[in-house]
Symmetry: C2
C-alpha cells in the first residue's frame, strides 16, 4: 500500500520513492491505490467492488517497486483510487471520474457537479501531475534524459471475455521505446506479448505520457500486465525479475539509436 500524503489544503500528493537512484528511468503507477479517503469515501461501492480491478490496478504497485529496485530508478505512485480521480485521464475525459466501470455503476460519480469535478482535479490530479513534472524537469535540468514508463495491470476477463495477452506494451506519439520493450520481452520471456494491447492510445489511456514525456522528447511507454500473473507479492517480484532485463535492454537500444 501507499500511505496517504495529504497537505493542509486537502491535496493528495503521490508517493515518490528512490529519488537518489542513478538510473535514467522514472516509473509511474497512476492506479497504484484502492484507497477511498474522505471527503469522498467509497462512492457507494461495496467492499468487494473497492477491492476489484475497477478501483485500481492490483499488483501494479508491487511490480513497479520491484522494477524500480532492479533498474535503480525513481518511481511515483498515486495514493487515491482511480474511481475518485483517474490520474491517467485529463479532467474533461469521462474516465477521469467514471460513472460506470466495466459492468459496475459508480453511484458517487453519477451526478458530479462542475465544482466537484474542479475540487477532485485540484485534490488529486494536479498534485500528482505536478510532483511528476517537478521530478522530470529537475532531472532534465541536470542534463539527464529519463525514460518515462507507466506500469498498469489489467483484468484477465473483461465484459465476460477472457484476454489471451499477458503483457501489453502501449505507445503514444513516439513508438521507439515500446517497440524495443516488446521485442526484448518476446525474446527474453515466455509471456504472450502484444503491442497496443489490450488497448491503445486511441482509448485515451496515454494521458500521463502525453502530458509528461512527449513535451520533453523523452522516451516513453506504457506497460500492462495481466493481473492474475501478479496476484501475490512473490508473483509481483518474479514478474519484476523477468521484465527488468527486457526493459534495461530496450532502454540501451533506444539510447544508442
Amino acid at each position: 500500500m501507499t500511505a496517504l500524503n495529504t497537505d493542509n489544503m486537502g491535496r493528495f500528493a503521490p508517493v515518490v520513492e528512490g529519488c537518489d537512484r542513478k538510473g535514467d528511468v522514472i516509473l509511474v503507477c497512476d492506479h497504484a491505490s484502492n484507497t477511498f479517503p474522505q471527503p469522498w469515501g467509497s462512492l457507494g461501492l461495496t467492499e468487494d467492488q473497492c477491492r476489484a480491478h475497477i478501483a485500481w490496478d492490483p499488483g501494479a504497485l508491487g511490480l513497479m517497486r520491484g522494477l524500480a529496485a532492479r533498474l535503480d530508478c525513481a518511481c511515483v505512485a498515486a495514493t487515491v483510487s482511480r474511481l475518485i480521480y483517474d490520474c491517467n485521464r485529463a479532467p474533461d475525459m469521462p474516465g477521469a471520474m467514471p460513472t460506470r466501470s466495466e459492468v459496475h455503476d459508480v453511484p458517487g460519480n453519477a451526478a458530479i457537479s462542475p465544482s466537484e469535478r474542479l475540487a477532485r482535479t485540484r485534490a488529486v490530479y494536479l498534485p500528482f501531475q505536478t510532483a511528476l513534472h517537478d521530478l522530470i524537469a529537475e532531472r532534465v535540468a541536470l542534463g539527464r534524459r529519463p525514460a518515462i514508463i507507466t506500469i498498469h495491470s489489467f483484468t484477465p476477463v473483461y465484459f465476460g471475455q477472457p484476454r489471451q495477452v499477458e503483457f501489453g506494451v502501449i505507445h503514444d506519439a513516439d513508438p521507439r521505446l515500446a517497440q524495443a520493450i516488446l521485442a526484448e520481452a518476446e525474446a527474453r520471456t515466455p509471456l504472450t506479448c502484444g503491442l497496443n494491447a489490450p488497448y491503445s492510445a486511441a482509448d485515451d489511456v496515454t494521458h500521463t505520457l502525453r502530458l509528461q514525456a512527449t513535451p520533453y522528447g523523452l522516451p516513453n511507454a506504457m506497460l500492462e500486465i495481466r493481473n492474475d500473473l501478479i496476484a501475490t507479492p512473490e508473483a509481483e517480484d518474479r514478474m519484476a525479475a523477468q521484465l527488468a532485463p527486457a526493459i534495461a535492454a530496450a532502454l540501451a537500444r533506444v539510447q544508442e539509436s
Copy 2:
C-alpha cells in the same frame, strides 16, 4: 511592470490576472519582465543591455493586457528576465539560460553548474509552468476549452538585418488557430504578416505551447509583434485594439470547425 511574487522558498510565481473573466482564452507572456532579482542580479550586463530586447520582449506585457481586457480573458506573465531563465524553453535547451543572446555575451551565464541550472529551474521555470498548468487544468475540469496564445515581441533589426514582417503567427503541432489568426489579421489590419516568421517551432520557440496546450488538444498559437510598433503604452493599446477583433474572429472560426 509585473511585481515580483516570491514565496519563502525563493520561487518566483508568475502574475495571473483576470481569472474571473469569461472568455475562453488564456494569454501568456513568457518574456514579460526585465527584472533581474537576487540572488542572480544583472548577470554582469550593463544597464542598457538589461533594458534591451535580449532581456525581455518590450511592449509584450502591455499588449497582452490590452488584448486580455478586450477578449475578456485571463493572462499569465513571467516576473523574471528571460536571461535568468527563459520560461519558453525546457531546462535542457541552451536558450533556457543563454550564454549569448544575439551579439551580447551574458557573463553570469558563461559557466553555469548543474546545481545552478537546477536552482534556476526550481525558482523560475517550475513555478511559472505549474501556475499556468493549474489554470488550464482547472478550466478544463469545468468543461471549458481555453485557447492558449503566447504573446511575444521581436526586435526590428537582428544581427544587423532589418526585419520586414510586423506581425508573425507561429504554430506548433496544430496549425489551425495560427492559420486562422493570420488570415483574419491579413483581412482586418494593415500589418505585414507572416506565418512562422520571424522564426518557427523548429527554432525551439514553442515549448510553452507544446507543454501546456498540446497535451489537452487545446487550440494554440504564438504571436510575435515587431517591438517598434508597441514602443509606448499608447502604441501597445492601439495594437491591442487592432489585433483583438482578428483574434476573436479566428477563435470563432476554429471553435466552429
